[in-house]
Symmetry: C2
Subunit: 566 residues, 2 copies
């Protein structure tokens, strides 16, 4: 035992005490009772509930104390960790294996045998004139959240009730809802074409509608140009001249790795993010890094990008402790799949793996499937459709990514698909999954099974799809055949389509033949189930046919309600 | 095209029109517009919501029409299927490739090119005296459910309000709750040692408590011996002499394959269940079988058993249609993993893969993990613990089975684990899953990730476990060390234990040393997290130590509340 002990690091220094850093510290202690473990945290708190901050702002989490999962005292008692808050690491010297720490009592040198860099990221501050206004907040720390809620509660008395949220990413959307829940008027401004930019347009559309239902005014595809400061409010000026008056401006325009001190010390970085190997090692000996500050290799596309997610950060911190203390047996850290989720009002939106943009950037040929299954058996009360988008690799059907939005069951399906992506499953494998079925929880053919069935049908040519994005071209080139019921058709349909309910199609193929006049037939229905049946009938009857992926539900999300004829 | 067409079966005959049969029929039509597809169903309904029957009885599903997902007319219109209800196949002649069908207009011979046997199963009727009473019902068909609800509604007027449910499997438990929801007094009688026999005892215990909370009186480990018939009620007599008066007796003692006519015709069976190959083929040419009537090979244990689940039945029916019409490209049918779920009051209980009994029967060496994680972040309102049991293969950690019970999030974790089992993942792989995290839905370390971490700790010796089942032996042989807080200890603890809170353990190791007096130390806490930390400290301090798997939560479920000292 003593021989092995002699090789172990005696002092492990960890920079940053939240997700990755604290996971590394706790795991290190469990593996080695005798190491000295020092955690240096710039802020006032360690191991706090970062992802809970918007819910504290919104009042759903009532007490600030709930956000503080651990304190230096509890960590000392349970794990004998030396946790020092208000300690900022301002320099690193790899030659002497030491860091310079600036604390309340001044600077000191601290030597390390192993060093873990988990400094996290800071809010991006775009170069907008006026953004230094005291009415501008960010939401990264407990202090940020506490100050913001204090301002809201003060504002409630002073009738200062208008908020502008700049950036409609996950935190921006959560914060906008939190502010709205507190009764403020909320404007949400996003530079990208739609809210929650990582989502596909057809998944983001229901989210945007839900934000409107909550009373949040969203504007996408537009830049903020400046913030004007007035005595009793600020004004956010947008690129189109719109002026939004605000008592509170929440800046949520993304984050950047907080790595300047380490890059200056020779830690290899790319675009400010620390480069690490499969064990979390940087280019410097015995210096590791994890969390929002590192560059990850995407598990699906192989592209390098920062992944600011708590799950991968915790996992990497823990895995780094394994490698520091058990270098021979530590498993490589997995490349992140990038699974994320957000509640918006009564909806859940979630994604895993790559989206269309990432697949396109990576040059991966993809088939995309759109489904609208219910979260549980349709005959059981409360059944509600979700929108599910699944990307599979053309040819072999390898699962590449998935997104969903709906009222219930979205988190479950995305987690199953995230597991399937990690396991390297294909569309065919999804058919074979034995998922838990009772009418309360699912269907005998679960949405994930259905996605596999549609995928294999596409891969082997049983099903040919067309996409709502191609509507403008196809309405000119093809006969668009709507096979829904007369009642559904009457409520709203794409203009210029032939309407034959799928139950009558066998007897009315002559009409299709005459209307098509040699053109291809592009069928559609509500969600793609009946048009698949119609496609099979048409293709076996000699037509060049295809079925609209996701049906009218997807078409309305992609094209908007304005396209409909009545 | 005509050459390929010529090889295709012209008439596909399908026996049984519910899950497997109707999936085969619908898929066959989508693949082949020109085949004649005949579905022969003995009962009055096809494609009905079998798993919804208890909810119709309980009134949660209000209308009988909701149970009828399709009718012969809708199937004719949409898919050109020739669906014949009240048609019972009474004989099969493989030599002439024909079946004898008994319909309302008499018997007829029907030739087939391909035959799919999906006759399902019928309720087992144990040889109990008096079980032929008209007050005894089963719950297998829409007619069963309608009659039962009529009797309940009639009973409401006549004050006939007592039900005895014989058999506490999934359907028995669902039916008991449905009857209770209708206001009846319900007694639930199970021969096996606990309700829901496929569940581990520690998962079944919270279910039994929830049944009691619902007002259902459950008796497990006891047989019914007879049913006595009286003028205005029946009496169920149990083996211990208990007499239960009943206006309604629901027999739910399992099912057996409904295969006598086919076995007589030469279809190879084992214990009455049809033997099939990986494409669903029986021993007879062009005769396939699927659903509750076939014997499956368990995906985990390799043991052969009937799997009466809708998901595998639907999947097999569809896969058989693929093999009939596309024999060269049809994929093999997967062996069922056996995932099942049930709602009981406010709880969900679910399982996937093999349980302890099956693993033991198969001779597979297993490590079993018990966890009690919350369904989402503990700091977010509404966090509630679930009980999670995971079986991994000793040595390599291959995931073998999992069960869970709790208020929320059980279905999600079991579906993720079912996917992991199908994919052949190990405990280490579970650590690496990127699951969707926001405090509303999960934790940065999801319950599934945690199970992986505990599993790898056990596999590599970082963690040694002891089990509540070994309490009687270990209390004599070891020092039992309770590391919970003083407040937790005071509420109830195992007798004769040493109590040192984990936060004080480092400073009080001398006390442990003295109390142990050379014996092993067996630590415990609330759920196993703190005793793991204690174990690490103890083992690195030279003690022979282990941590109680699942902590006091599991111990109370296994040993009962009576074992506690206060």
């Amino acid at each position: 035992m003593s021989a092995a002990m002699a090789d172990r690091p005696r002092r492990i220094v960890i920079v940053g005490g939240v997700a990755a850093g604290m996971s590394a510290a706790a795991r290190a202690r469990r593996l080695d009772e005798h190491a000295e473990i020092v955690v240096l945290e710039r802020g006032a708190h360690v191991s706090f509930a970062n992802c809970g901050l918007p819910y504290y702002v919104g009042g759903e989490i009532e007490d600030q104390s709930s956000l503080l999962v651990q304190t230096p005292a509890t960590l000392r008692a349970a794990l004998d960790l030396d946790v020092r808050v208000h300690h900022d690491v301002i320099a690193l010297d790899a030659a002497t294996r030491s860091v310079t720490v600036r604390g309340p009592e001044g600077d000191e040198q601290l030597a390390y045998d192993a060093l873990v860099l988990a400094p996290g990221a800071v809010a991006v501050r775009p170069p907008l004139p006026g953004l230094d206004s005291p009415r501008v907040s960010t939401l990264r720390t407990v202090e940020d959240a506490v100050r913001l809620r204090e301002r809201i509660e003060a504002g409630a008395e002073a009738s200062a009730r208008r908020a502008v949220v700049l950036g409609a990413g996950f935190i921006g959307v959560e914060a906008a809802e939190a502010l709205r829940r507190q009764g403020l008027e909320v404007e949400l401004v996003e530079l990208a074409p739609h809210v929650l930019p990582p989502l596909e347009a057809e998944i983001a559309a229901p989210v945007a509608a839900e934000l409107r239902r909550l009373g949040i005014r969203g504007r996408a595809g537009i830049a903020a140009e400046s913030v004007e400061h007035h005595e009793d409010h600020d004004t956010v000026v947008l690129a189109d001249g719109t002026r939004l008056e605000a008592d509170i401006i929440l800046l949520s325009a993304g984050v950047r790795p907080d790595t300047a001190a380490f890059e200056a010390a020779g830690v290899a970085c790319e675009r400010g993010a620390i480069l690490v190997d499969e064990h979390g090692r940087t280019n410097l000996p015995d210096v590791y890094a994890a969390g929002d500050a590192v560059l990850s290799v995407d598990a699906v596309t192989g592209l390098r990008r920062p992944v600011a997610l708590a799950g991968p950060a915790n996992r990497a911190g823990r895995g780094i402790a394994d490698h520091i203390l058990r270098p021979d047996s530590a498993r490589p850290l997995p490349a992140p799949v990038g699974t994320a989720i957000v509640r918006v009002g009564e909806l859940t939106a979630a994604l895993t793996g790559a989206n269309s943009a990432a697949l396109s950037a990576a040059g991966i040929e993809t088939d995309t499937l759109h489904l609208h299954p219910t979260q549980h058996a349709g005959y059981f009360p409360g059944a509600a459709q979700m929108a599910l988008v699944v990307h599979i690799r053309r040819g072999d059907g390898l699962l590449l990514g998935a997104q969903a939005v709906g009222r219930e069951g979205v988190d479950k399906r995305i987690d199953v698909l995230a597991t399937a992506i990690r396991a390297g499953l294909t569309a065919a494998d999804l058919i074979d999954l034995d998922l838990a079925y009772s009418p309360v929880y699912g269907s005998a053919k679960d949405p994930v099974n259905l996605a596999g069935m549609v995928g294999v049908n596409v891969l082997d040519g049983t099903l040919a799809l067309w996409y709502a994005q191609d509507w403008d071209r196809l309405r000119a080139e093809a006969l668009i055949l709507d096979v829904r019921s007369a009642a559904e058709y009457a409520v709203g349909h794409l203009p210029g389509t032939l309407h034959i309910p799928h139950t009558e199609l066998r007897d009315r193929l002559d009409e299709v033949h005459d209307a098509a006049a040699g053109r291809p037939v592009r069928a559609l229905c509500g969600s793609g189930v009946r048009s698949h049946i119609a496609h099979r009938l048409l293709t076996q009857s000699g037509f060049d046919s295809a079925s609209l992926s996701g049906g009218m539900l997807t078409a309305r999300a992609v094209l908007g309600e304005g396209v409909l004829a009545h």
